[in-house]
């Protein structure tokens, strides 16, 4: 069989399989979205209803009961601010790791990562007590701090991997050209590390957006994010599938759509130095 023939029939098979897998993977999200437009009775019907008159009832119900924009704004604010703050702290650290490595660089990096392995619930009471003593319970500020710390190890590592791929000599050239630390940052590190910085930021944005444990435990009326909105719709008494779907769609739609549009940037630096 010639190479061309092989590749032609193979492509057909390959693309069909790929499409099939992609649809299977995406199906739960599709189903969730469709359910959001059903009535509660349609939502639990067996077999599932696929052709029906869509209703916006669930969405209006959600908006009536709770101010979606309030939660959405908190989500946006906390995730964006924590990402920016995290970048602010992580970029210099990663820069330092990447360009003046010492014998302990790997150890420090590993230590940073290991701080992420402790189950959050283990630190709940200490953090709760601390937030309460400092008056930070139910503030967006507390969430921003927590999200930042939560993502910092990953950020440093990702940025370190990204920065390491920038040739040393370019920084040396800049130094020869008279660039100080700030100019190196501004004219070399930022433009050349942008891919890595962007994907680090994007990933941490997603992680912060989706964080639920601390949000549920540390916020009440002021600082709740969409994660807490979803929680307030899970398993009440009575049928709630459709409403839960609606609120879920509202909670994940911004970040999923955002993810679609930014996936190119995300992919660029999501390699953690895995690509040589």
């Amino acid at each position: 069989m010639s190479f061309a023939q092989k590749s032609k029939s193979a492509t057909v098979i390959r693309s069909s399989v790929a499409w099939l897998i992609a649809l299977v993977m995406f199906f739960p999200i599709l189903f969730l979205t469709v359910t959001a437009f059903k009535t509660e009775l349609q939502a639990i019907a067996v077999p599932s209803v696929w052709f029906f008159e869509p209703t916006l009832e669930n969405f209006t119900e959600v908006q009536e009961r709770s101010d979606y924009l309030h939660y959405a704004w908190n989500s946006v604010l906390t995730s964006v601010m924590s990402t920016l703050l995290g970048l602010l702290i992580a970029i210099p650290a990663a820069f330092s790791f990447a360009f003046t490595p010492t014998r302990r660089t790997k150890d420090i990096l590993m230590w940073m990562l290991s701080t992420k392995m402790m189950p959050a619930v283990g630190a709940l009471v200490p953090i709760y007590v601390l937030s309460q003593k400092t008056g930070l319970l139910d503030t967006r500020f507390a969430l921003i701090i927590i999200f930042t710390m939560m993502n910092l190890p990953i950020m440093v590592w990702m940025l370190y991997s990204a920065f390491k791929d920038i040739p040393h000599e370019i920084f040396e050239a800049a130094r020869m050209d008279g660039a100080g630390l700030w100019e190196e940052f501004r004219h070399v590190l930022l433009p050349l590390g942008m891919g890595g910085i962007a994907s680090t930021g994007l990933l941490c944005l997603v992680l912060a957006w989706n964080e639920a444990f601390w949000v549920l435990n540390l916020t009440s009326s002021q600082a709740g994010t969409l994660a807490s909105l979803v929680a307030s719709y899970s398993s009440p008494e009575g049928l709630f599938w459709a409403k839960l779907s609606a609120v879920s769609v509202l909670a994940i739609a911004p970040i999923v759509v955002f993810g679609w549009f930014s996936q190119k940037q995300l992919v660029q630096g999501l390699t953690f130095g895995a690509v040589k």
Binding site: E169, E172, A173, A174, M176, D177, G178, G180, H187
Partner: protein, 343 residues
């Protein structure tokens, strides 16, 4: 007093003494080339001059000022890197003007300087392009241009031609020589290629294991290497080395004789100093290299090479004798020192 001088300069990497008390004086306008095998410290020494590596001992003087601990950008040096280290996100123009812009130079002045440099280097059509859109040779020229526009006191080149193909390398070499002539700037140039060293340098500095073996003009090094290392490092093909035991008429204390290929004479077997078998004949047109394996030599030892500027009648496998004129031979003692020079 020299323009650029290194006095007892040291470099340590932990326990490793990478540069060992190097002393070197470079005159204004001079083109100095550092050569040596890889790992000899030539790049480190250059980077110490540039300020990219700290100087752990000794002093570095430039134009009468101590710049041992001055930061790179304040040393008034420009460097061309092996990988060119162009800013990939800037246009050629911006790459060349970056240092001037950082220094807050007037816009018109910058434009003028960039234009001049671009003209010298034939880069005018490419000023708006980014480095990615240039060929290797063009990138090389941009890197040089970036150095030129700053009109530094000293140009530093770190193996600038090693990423180019052979033809381009020769061409660029000539260009660098021309630029040096035109600009008259003091230049320190690092290479592991002795041809570059020989053709470009006013003076060549041969380094080995962190210290200077010899400093001199290319021909001085060629004609009067102080030791076996320099003798072997300079010259292509390498100088023949012959163990002297069993050979008549060698100076006392000599253990090896060094004879350049062009001084190796093919004779009859009769009463030759060395007898052997022709192993390979390389006919290059203008010259012929005759490889002779001396009798009793192991097959892994380098054969001796004789260079002739006439076509050879010999055939492979022919028995020949080898000889040389003692005035053109170097004799090395057990330390590898050239007896003729040290004596």
């Amino acid at each position: 007093m020299a323009f650029l001088s290194l006095n007892n300069v040291d470099k340590f990497y932990g326990d490793l003494h990478a540069i060992k008390s190097v002393n070197l004086a470079i005159e204004q306008g001079e083109f100095v080339v550092f050569v040596g095998p890889s790992g000899c410290g030539k790049s480190t020494l250059l980077r110490m001059i540039a300020g990219l590596e700290t100087i752990d001992g000794g002093t570095l003087m430039l134009g009468g000022n101590d710049i041992t601990h001055v930061i790179p950008s304040k040393r008034d040096l420009a460097m061309v890197f092996q990988s060119y280290a162009l800013y990939p996100h800037m246009s050629v123009e911006d790459n060349m003007s970056f240092a001037l812009r950082l220094a807050g130079e007037d816009k018109a002045v910058i434009a003028k300087k960039v234009a001049e440099a671009a003209e010298k280097l034939d880069l005018e059509p490419y000023l708006k392009r980014t480095p990615r859109a240039l060929s290797g040779g063009q990138r090389q020229r941009v890197a040089i241009g970036r150095a030129i526009v700053r009109q530094p006191k000293v140009f530093l080149f770190d193996e600038p031609l090693s990423n180019l193909d052979a033809a381009l390398r020769g061409q660029t070499r000539v260009e660098i020589a021309r630029l040096h002539r035109e600009l008259g700037a003091t230049t320190v140039y690092v290479t592991h290629d002795q041809v570059e060293a020989m053709t470009l340098a006013d003076r060549v500095v041969v380094l080995r294991a962190g210290h200077i073996e010899q400093v001199g003009t290319p021909l001085e090094l060629y004609d009067a290497p102080v030791n076996k290392f320099v003798a072997q490092f300079i010259g292509m093909p390498q100088m023949n080395l012959i163990k002297t035991d069993g050979i008549n008429g060698v100076p006392a204390g000599a253990v090896e004789a060094g004879v350049r290929t062009e001084h190796m004479q093919i004779t009859d077997e009769g009463n030759a100093r060395i007898k052997g078998t022709v192993e390979l004949i390389e006919s290059l047109g203008n010259e012929t290299l005759i490889h002779v394996r001396p009798d009793g030599a192991d097959s892994h030892e380098m054969p001796l090479i004789a260079r002739q500027y006439s076509r050879s009648e010999l055939n492979m496998g022919a028995r020949v004798g080898l000889g040389w004129d003692d005035s053109q031979a170097h004799y090395f003692n057990t330390q590898g020192e050239n007896l003729r020079i040290t004596a």
